[in-house]
């Protein structure tokens, strides 16, 4: 936690504290809806209630501490990556999300084939042969190993793939 540090780091902690409050406060309110005690002793809401309450108090304490800390000028560390790398990271996340959405409808093999090609291209791989071989191995090869040899259930979707 920055007691003194870059403005970006300070802002990062402030945002994190607000996010934590965004979890703890609704959890606190929700836990009041569960019974805190019952005939046998503590109820389902007992533990979540106290956890949320303590968590919220601690988050506020961190927020106050961070806000009151001096942010040193000119020591900004690179919290944000450069544009190209940020785009690559976002690209990977989009590819992952798309893979998650298509995973069951298309099946493992048909989803992972374009996923692998896409991620490799996003990250700068350029050899068509290496990309093709990796995509085939990662989709059809991995499916064979996990599904047939290791008996790990992977989805079979459209076209029996």
């Amino acid at each position: 936690m920055p007691t003194s540090g870059s403005k970006a780091l300070k802002l990062g902690w402030q945002v994190a504290c607000l996010c934590l409050l965004g979890i703890f406060v609704p959890a606190l309110v929700t836990s009041l809806g569960y019974s805190l005690t019952d005939a046998l002793g503590p109820g389902p809401g007992f533990f979540p209630f106290w956890l949320s309450l303590i968590g919220a108090v601690l988050s506020v304490a961190i927020l106050v501490q961070v806000t009151l800390a001096k942010a040193a000028e000119g020591t900004a560390i690179g919290l944000a990556p450069d544009r190209r790398m940020a785009l690559q990271a976002i690209g990977v996340l989009i590819a992952l999300t798309a893979a998650a959405v298509l995973f069951e409808p298309l099946g493992y093999r048909l989803t992972m084939l374009p996923f692998i090609v896409g991620v490799l291209l996003i990250l700068g791989a350029r050899s068509p042969i290496a990309i093709a071989l990796t995509a085939l191995a990662g989709s059809f090869g991995v499916f064979h190993v996990f599904y047939h040899w290791l008996k790990v259930p992977l989805p079979i979707g459209a076209f029996g793939m």
């Binding site: 961190i62 990977v92 490799l120 790990v152």
Partner: protein, 498 residues
Amino acid sequence: MDTLAHLMAGLTAALSLQNLAFALIGCVLGTLIGVLPGLGPAAGTAILIPLTFKLDPTGALIMLSAIYYGAMYGGTVTSVLINVPGEAASVITCIDGHQMAKQGRGGTALAIAAIGSFVGGIVATIALVVVAPPLAQVALKFGPPEFFALMLVGLCLITGLGGRSLLAGLTMAILGLLIAMVGIDPVRGAPRFTLGIPSLYDGLGFIPVVMGLFGVAEILLGIEQPRHQVIKTDLASLLPSREEWRRSIGAIGRGTGIGFFLGLIPGVGAIIPTFVAYVFEKRLSKTPERFGHGAIEGVAAPESANNAYANAAMIPLLTLGIPSSPTIAVLMGAFIINGLTPGPFLFQERPDLVWAVIASFFLGNILLLVLNLPFVGLWARILYLPYPYVCVGTLLFCVIGAYSLQQNVFDIGVMIACGIIGYGMRKIDMPIAPLVLGLILGPFLEKSLRTSLEMSAGDFSIFFTRPLCLTLLVLAGIVLVASALRLPPRELREASTT
């Protein structure tokens, strides 16, 4: 005598062709994870769990344990050859190991690291065999209040020692405990925080969360990091000279001792033993100025400490059910997936499994020595693998692992979300370990608290009237106060956050 008989039975089981193969595969995969920079042992062990889904529990746990200590071995290669630790515990090895590589002594550095790791691992496993059964016997006398207090001590140690800020560590531990509350209440069967989503009735899966926080987050961070130059060094001449042996033997012994004893304390983490071992050697040396310029003791001591720690850290898990680090928490998750709860009862209920796993540590350390000495050049070549291909391989395992545990796409979504959260946390240096430990211990902590209060009809004095429970609670309080007052030396606190 009983212990010896159990150990022999365990060795027989571990030496079966099937289990030996699992140990070998685990060692190879673990070393690979350690060698690949950016993919730590916690993420590596988590993403490889799907490989073990259909194995019998003994084989699965032998393989996952081998992956864990294999990763501890493998991290050295990158530390020495590219000055980047393959896993956090190898940070200290970078200092002198990389200097040795620059001087053309990279082979010797890697060899002494492998030998030190072997000695550390074997000695710690022998100590585990001696210490674990009596400790488990003592733990059998614990009731729910004592277990609650014990888990609280573990969490306090992890939050207190695990980062620069006690407040942040505590908040993260509480967040982990709260996330663990999602799903059906284990005592009354009432749904909590499920938001009407059926996939949340079983709770947020530990494995998807860990894969996200460590695996996906590490991929995203890895994209930002510059690629490193592999040092061309002599890997043919592995054996240290007579003088180097002389300097290393004591360092290995001391490193092993430090690693073992610190491994018994939950929350210490893998970095602190290596750091302490390094500083200790430097202070003990008559020529401390050699440290930082390729002193072989600077490699031998931390590497021995690293592996002694890795094996000793299994003691709190196996005997008390307390994971001391995120990687051990992942292993605990693997036990739970296999329908087993680590702790003293496991020694009674499944001695065959526990002793086979312990015996496999001996075999695993021998396998790792064989894998690491003659094949060190081969491991070094893996460093030339382009990052996009490493990234794709990791993501594939993450997706398969997250999905296949419950065959639910929702878990892939959880993994992606946790990946983004983990990335953000790492960027601002927010501690992740307490969150993971809170997540795995949450259900046990709640169950023991509620059972205790049911025993006393809601009277909290049950925690203060039982001497052992009270002692443990006082200890937890002392840990928190000491951490708040910043009593652990600054170097240790900073080492633990590296």
